[in-house]
Point group: C2
Chain length 366, copies 2
């Protein structure tokens, strides 16, 4: 790398499944970014038809010295394609090219590409190595880190998947410069998330630097990505398979999943649904006496300033409750909410349906 | 259990993924068989439309005291249904019934049911517990033990799957009494396999007791299942994810997969293809100077006496080689064969294409 001064490294400590997150500028083309990955004769870059045309050739060139063959497959873009049919395009490409079980997969794109590539890597010949190369803010701060992979089922989001860790995560901040503004905001939802669940100082920093983040100031982005990954690494390192504390990372996601499922996946961006879901979850926290109104107001204002929706779609409380009951955190039909216990600390608990319905009614379009 | 004298237990030692194989008669209805499994509010029995009508109700009755809800889904029977479409029937049932991520799956049937249920359990909400209840000899001695789960892809067998260990394996020997003779023979192929790769004394025992096994003598079956599971447990305990020694369990499988893929999956039973494949692999071992002709003759005669094919279908050597190159053991296009180094010991190595072609031509229909 010509300029290593901007390179940050965050370690995910999971025993023999440990790996590094590299965060910096100009990482994509640098040989050192790809050094010491598992040896193989072939690599497959999995991308989509939006990101592929911009970055796939550069990644292919960077990987060419390391693998005899570097193939690329571009999936159709969007959450609505996060299904078995599209996943199968990856398997078709691998088997069509005679890829063996040392073949390394590279996920070049956002959360959908990362989730699908990771799940394909988990399943192909019962497991091949893969590398995350997230090109959206959401993927850099959240979905590419921690080994959650999945596809959607018509009845529920991310219902079919695996815990499967990548060999490395490469967050090239330059790729965020080509991101549509709507996706920047969606990514900021997951950045903001880390504040109330783990680090209120970080929330203060986001509040103070939100304009710089929205303007994609590299220094601000570097800190936001790094601190987000550190918090995620700290949580995942304690609970890889979400038996306990890891569930706090789903703050806003229970309500958010209901919005996505209720409207049909892909209507709202995942980050938008999470942003609005966090507003609902903070209202529920307040109704349960866990946080005060000042917190909810300040937090809602921040979500709004980030360009995210703070009012939910009018689906009716019953529809929300129905979708939340098939959430993966639900147990025997009881919905488990991630709530803010006091600002900076999250808890996972149930809540009376009637109270939840009031929150939904209060937070949705009239 | 009214009669515990026939109960054998084999331990699979894999750290926090360890479990027991129970082998005996009258296990299906006994409460003690199902004691101390993970607690849950719901269970799903996955079976097929052949085995289900015979045993599903009995298993449902045995599990009823343990789970509030016990559902059953019967898949279409046969290797040709070991695909995504059929797998999705399991997910549809789970999501349709609102099954949460503590739900326990029970695989009631042969190898196909076990592989598919295991893979569904590995993927549903990124992993739910499952129990193997194998009702075929092949599944009891091989496929239900060791955590290999998968579905087929049109281009290759078991190409999409996971290493995912069950909570328990319950081998009720009584279920073998309803097995068609062709499937008994297919199961014996995997029993016989353990001799040349690991234990020639066991091969001698099989030779001496083959008539009793074919007549389904419970005592003979108990010993065959137990010794097979012990050898498999010993191998899998050293190499859960097939980085090395575990590959020896694929003796006969490289040629066998080519037969299955070449004829179309389901034409020959898996065990039949493995039986014939072991004959081919022993011929290749002889050509490479590893075993003598006496071994090959004796071994071939035993395969034939077990009711298994010893002559391969006439597909042409090129077709065999093509299918073997997409075998999971192949690396960068080089086929890796499991061969008998000396009787009782296996090795994994390559062989010249020309020599392999000679073996194929010599072992196939003219």
């Amino acid at each position: 790398m010509s300029n290593t001064s901007h390179l940050e490294r965050v370690a995910i400590d999971l025993g023999d499944r440990s790996y590094s997150i590299l965060i910096g500028e100009q990482l994509l083309d640098a040989a050192s970014t790809w050094a010491d990955l598992p040896k193989a004769s072939a690599a497959l870059i999995v991308t989509n038809d939006t990101v592929g045309p911009i970055y796939a050739e550069r990644l292919q060139a960077a990987l060419a010295p390391l693998y005899k063959q570097v193939h690329t497959v571009a999936l159709p873009d969007g959450e609505s394609h996060k299904d078995w049919q599209t996943l199968n395009l990856i398997f078709d490409e691998l088997l069509g090219k005679g890829a063996d079980r040392k073949t390394v997969l590279f996920a070049l794109g956002g959360g959908v590409v990362g989730d699908m590539t990771g799940f394909a890597a988990a399943c192909y010949m019962r497991g091949v190595p893969f590398v995350q190369v997230p090109t959206t803010l959401l993927a850099q701060v959240d979905s590419s880190v921690g080994g959650k992979t999945a596809i959607n089922h018509p009845i529920g989001k991310n219902m079919i998947g695996a815990f499967y860790q990548p060999q490395r995560v490469v967050c090239d901040l330059d790729t965020l410069q080509t991101l549509p503004q709507r996706e920047m905001s969606a990514g900021l939802a997951e950045v903001i998330k880390y504040g109330p669940i783990a680090d209120m100082q970080f929330l203060d920093w986001i509040d103070a630097n939100l304009d710089a983040l929205l303007a994609r100031d590299p220094k601000a982005l570097a800190h936001a990505v790094k601190r987000s990954c550190e918090i995620k690494a700290w949580v995942v390192g304690q609970d890889e398979r979400e038996g306990g504390i890891r569930a706090i990372l789903n703050f806003g996601h229970t309500f958010g999943h209901a919005i996505e499922a209720g409207l049909g996946f892909g209507e709202w961006l995942h980050g938008e649904a999470v942003g609005c879901g966090m507003v609902m979850a903070s209202h529920l926290s307040q109704r349960l006496g866990l946080v005060d109104e000042a917190f909810v107001s300040r937090f809602t204002a921040l979500i709004e300033r980030a360009g995210l929706p703070i009012v939910g779609p009018k689906l009716g409380a019953d529809v929300y409750l129905h979708h939340m009951r098939v959430d993966k955190k639900a147990e025997a039909g009881e919905i488990k909410f991630v709530l803010i216990d006091k600002p900076g600390t999250a808890i996972v608990r149930g809540a009376p349906d009637a109270l939840v319905a009031q929150v939904i009614d209060g937070c949705c379009e009239k």
